[in-house]
Each structure stands twice: as structure tokens, then as C-alpha cells.
Symmetry: D3
Subunit: 136 residues, 6 copies
């Protein structure tokens, strides 16, 4: 009996979409207003979904408190009230598109989970735009 347990979290951050190796004009053509050199920002909403067997002793797949603490340590403490391009190591040379952010978050959380657990991460950049990744 495989059940998926999901936990929602959030962080507020600034970012800019651009490549340092492209001209401003090329960045502008591809990334439009997301290429504002002064940055813009979002309230990112995050759902981490862990799939596994129910532990017959506890009735848990994973204690949601443990999942909450992993998200706090790996994502919220590192990304919240930060400038993704400047303050977060992973985006110093990686464009912080929603797609790239969700892969980075997936990898950070996956590393802290028991290997028997499958993970999917969904990231809302706005209520209208969101992405998801499950390591495939």
C-alpha cells in the first residue's frame, strides 16, 4: 500500500532571469521583463510529495514533522528572504528559472530522504505558473 504524503511550504525571494554570457539585448529578447537588472520577486509556494509504504507500527509513510524540518533546513532557511541569483550558491552559475529551481530543490530534499522513498516537488512561482519534477 503505497501512499503519497505531501507538505506545503513557502519562501519569498528576489530573482532575475538572464545568462551572464549573453548580451543584455539577447537576455531581453528571451527573458523579457524577467530580465530586470534590479530584480523582481515572488512568494514561492512549494509542495514536497513523498511516496512509500505505510509503516505498520506508526501508520506513517514519513512523519510529516520530519518532512517539514527537512524542507525548513534545505529550502526555507536557504532561500527565504534571499536574492536567488546572489545569495544562493546553486544559482551563481545557473539561471533561476522555475524549472531550474524545482530541480535544485528536488535534489536537496531527496538527499535527506530514505532511499526507499520516491519524491515529487511542485513549485508555484505565482498562483498561475508552476512546475513539478520527480527525478525522471
Amino acid at each position: 500500500m503505497k501512499v503519497t504524503v505531501s507538505r506545503r511550504a513557502h519562501f519569498n525571494a528576489a530573482h532575475r532571469l538572464y545568462r551572464k554570457d549573453w548580451s543584455f539585448e539577447k537576455n531581453d529578447a528571451i527573458f523579457g521583463k524577467c530580465n530586470n537588472p534590479n530584480y523582481h520577486g515572488h512568494n514561492y509556494e512549494l509542495i514536497a510529495s513523498v511516496t512509500g509504504e505505510i509503516d505498520q507500527e506508526t501508520g506513517f509513510v514519513i512523519d510529516v514533522k520530519i518532512l517539514k524540518d527537512i524542507i525548513k533546513a534545505e529550502v526555507e532557511d536557504v532561500f527565504d528572504h534571499k536574492n536567488l541569483n546572489i545569495d544562493v550558491e546553486e544559482f551563481k552559475y545557473l539561471n533561476p528559472t522555475a524549472e531550474n529551481i524545482v530541480v535544485v530543490i528536488y535534489n536537496k530534499i531527496k538527499d535527506k530522504l530514505d532511499a526507499k522513498h520516491k519524491l515529487e516537488v511542485t513549485l508555484y512561482e505565482t498562483p498561475r505558473n508552476f512546475v513539478s519534477y520527480s527525478g525522471e
Copy 2:
């Protein structure tokens, strides 16, 4: 690395559930109050989810602005503030149940996407009733 990019959109429309080749009584038995001959309506909410590899140059699976424009041209411009039964070609001979609408929307959006991209469409008829289709 396959990531799914989702975009939410909406349109407001009137419709009536019935078959022209059935009696009013039979339509009433099957479709109940949705068979009101004067129509009723909904705020339809739509999520189009496109799955594909991240483009290593841009960091996008698909530029969400392109996806937004496809939804606008294929769905919003055609369905919004319309009577689905009368004003929308596809439903002249097809009962506009949520199931049939989501398949029609899937086909219209899928046609405009790169063939390498997988699509899933979710359509909310109300916040409590929704359907989804991924071409399978």
C-alpha cells in the same frame, strides 16, 4: 530531466447538457438541472501542463509566455463569454460535458505544441467538480 510546466487560465461560458436526438424527458432523466433549455453557466478554470526536457540554454521547458499565448488563442478567445452549445463549433454536435470539453481543449492545445512535449489538461467546471485528460 523532465519537468512539467503548468499554466492556469480561465473563461466564463454558458452551456446546456442534452442530446438533440433524445426527448426532453430522457435528457431530463440523465442530465437533470443541467438540461435547462435556457442554459446555465460556469467560470471554467483551466490548467495546461506541458512535460519535457529543460532546454540547457534558456532553463525553460517551454517559455510560459508562449504557453499562455497558445491558451489565449486556442481557448480563451474562442470560449470566453460564449455559449458553448451555440457559439463554439466543436460543440454543435457534441454534448459539452466537462469530459468532452477537456478533450476538445487538449486537442486544440496539443496541435500547437512541439511534438516532443507531453500535455495534460485539467478543467474545473466548479471548485468541486473537475476533470483531466492527457491523451491516453
Copy 3:
């Protein structure tokens, strides 16, 4: 101690904004795509808020079940899955703008409340457009 008790409800309906005494062109200029002669529709969300003293015996301002039943009888049973222009008496000669609908609903619910209770009604035509009226 005056407390406000609110109850949320909803109905799905078709409507058209226009005046029978105006030309199609004038209606089109004022009401735009809301003037589609074939109608369009909405999932209307409704909040009825009743303000009064807490009854010291029950701890209620008004039993929310009573408020729910009033909304059902006065609004949902009359408006749900209907064409407001054709099926609802009040809009046969009154343009069903959100403003006019909220006043009609206010009057219908207010009539069924104890005179000592103050009422405010909020009506969402869409999640982005809403109106409210408190009889003033």
C-alpha cells in the same frame, strides 16, 4: 457584543448584460462581450453576513443552519442552474449586473431575517470581480 456571522454559498447561472430598450450597438458599446445574445455564465459565490448580539443562552447570533436554509430557499433554489434573464422573475426587467444581483439577493435574505439583524451580502461573479451591499 455584536458579532458578525457569515455563510458562504454558490450557484451557477447564465446571464446577458443588456437593456431591451437599447439598440444592439449601444448595448455592445456599454456591455461589450457580456452582451452576447446567446448568454455566457458564471459560478457565483455568495457570502451572507449577519450582525447582531450573541444570544447568551445558545452562544449564537443566528444558528448558521437557519442562515444556510434561508440562502438555499431564497437564492440557490431560485438562481442555481438558471438563466437569470429568462428564468428569474426579478431580472425580467432589470439588467443582471453583479450590482443589481447583489441588491436583489440582499432584499430576499433580509426579508427572512429577524429585524434586529443587520445584513451584508458579498457576491463574487468571478474570483477577480465582486460586489457587496449592506442596505445603505
Copy 4:
């Protein structure tokens, strides 16, 4: 053409997470504040998603009114305004974790569906914590 039809429902219930065969201390260590002997409670939100072929006659996978009635009879009438540990047969000897509740709900709804239909149930314990199960 396989479409998934989803219906959202809700129930309000009290529960306590603990095992009768464990000491209070062990229950406290594992279940923390969820082990309050006086119970706490939730507004549970439920989504039942039924996947199948569209019936070419009706345009329905399943009449959503039938799905709504199954959820009412199998879940809402049995769980709503109840203490899960005391009032609901299935949890007399089963810890009512979200994981265990979703499996119980899945089995109750699945039993009432046509065998050709696939089911997934998602259960929100809070807006931030939710689980899903599809019988696999």
C-alpha cells in the same frame, strides 16, 4: 480516451493519534501533540478521482452526481462531526493517521464503483498536509 473525473467533499472530525498497546510516553515521543488524550480535530477535505472511458452516449465517465452520492453515503454520513477513534468502526483498532484514513476511504468508495473504473483519493488534513492513495 481516458478522462479523470474528480469530486471534492469535506467532513469535520476529531481524532487522536496513538496506539493502545503503547505507553503514553512512547505515544508522546512518536505522535507529539497529536496524542492529546482529549482529542483535537480537523476540517478534512477529500478529492475522489475516477478514471475511465467517456461513455459515448452521455459524454460522462461517471455522472458526478452518482460520485457525490457515493462520497456522501460512504464518507460524509459516517465521518462528519464524528470522533474517528470512537465513532468510526474502522479506527477502533487502527490509528487514524492521514495515511490510514485515506486507505479506508479509498476502499469504501472503490467498493461502490464499477470495476472498470480506477480510483485515486486525496485527503487534506490541513491545507499544508495531505495524502493520496490509488490502490497500488
Copy 5:
């Protein structure tokens, strides 16, 4: 320039509506399924809204972190994962209707605010039922 600053919080609790000085039958007639002797529960959502002048030095009416901490100490730490009837002092002899709860919460938060600030509290018992109180 009077601005209102609002902070949303939540707690999960069990409760039962009844009066100890009434018979079970009378409680049942007035409070219906809310009178389950084994309790039921809710995810309560709370909005505390503080109105006052903007401090010209900080640009704050009230530092929202201070408001958050007051809500945590006065409401969440006392009500969350509790049985309101048994575990919370204020409801030992007061029926925990939404109306009575919102007045209790208002008084607890108001006591900790600067006297120059006006307070309104809104309490959602469910997404469909909510109450508000502003001390008038």
C-alpha cells in the same frame, strides 16, 4: 493615515457545542450533530486586523512579527491540538460556539496591543462558516 494590518494564523482543535445545564435532548435539538458527546473538530483559520496610524520612522502600523508572536502566545500555543471544552480554561463554562471563541480570542489579543490600536478578529470554523468581532 490609518492603515489596517492583518495577520492570518490557524489552529486545529476539537470541540462540542452543548450546555451542561441542559438535557441531552435539548442540546440535541439546538446543537444537532455539533452536540456529539465524543467531540468533532476543525482547522480554525484566524485573521487579526490591527488599525492605527503609520509610524513615520518605521513605516509600520505594527511590526507584523510582533503581531504574529502575540497570536502565537495567546492563541496558537493555547488552542492548537487541544480540546476546547476540556483543555482551554475560557470554555470550561462557556459554550465554544464560533461567536464565543472569536470574542475570547479578541479579548486575549486586545490585552497585548497598545491601547491606541483598534482590533478586529475574524475566525473561520470552516471555509464556509466564519465570524468576526471588533469589540463593539
Copy 6:
């Protein structure tokens, strides 16, 4: 018959809370993580609520399309995908707290409304923190 018409809009922006005339330490003590020199950001949600008499000809208090266009020109075009501290004139010498932003937005929209109309603006910095101002 005074009815309030509300329109919801949104913009995504970066900001930093600090005063140029204070030391970093003092800014840090007062504004905490909101004082990140590299900025952070939000999806701001905005509700503009206009109160006035219903025009007996049109059934509108204000054509919501006009209100939508005012919000777009005055707020979205100026604030969206911007750094409030650097890119927006009004915040060059004014700390962009939610309180100060809502007053600026109120003044910009109020200037474009008919003088007979009353305005209230609510601004969500996050789903949990929001402010409102009505010019009093």
C-alpha cells in the same frame, strides 16, 4: 443604494525594507531579514474596492473594465516585475513597507476615480500578511 465593486489584480516585485539614514545594524534590528541588501520579493495581490450609487441606466457603480484599466495603468505597468526601491519613483525616499505601498497605490487610483466614489485598497504581501487603507 450604495454598492461596493471590487477588482483583484497582482504584481510581482522585489523590495528591501530599510532607511538610508540608519546604520545597517539599526536597520537589521528593526527590519530583520527584510533588510537583505540584495533584496527579496513577493507576489503582491491587490483588491481595489470602489463604493458608490448604482447608475440606473447601466446597472453599474463603475464599469469594472474601467477599474481594471486604471489598476493596470497606475499599478501593474509601474510596479510589476520591478524593484520597488530602485525602479519606482515613490519609494526612492519612502520605505516600501506594505503600509506605505498601500497608501501610494490608494492615492494613485483615487486620483483617477470620479470624486463621488469612495475607495478602499487591500494589499496582500503574502497570503498571511495584508494591509488595507481607505483614505481616513
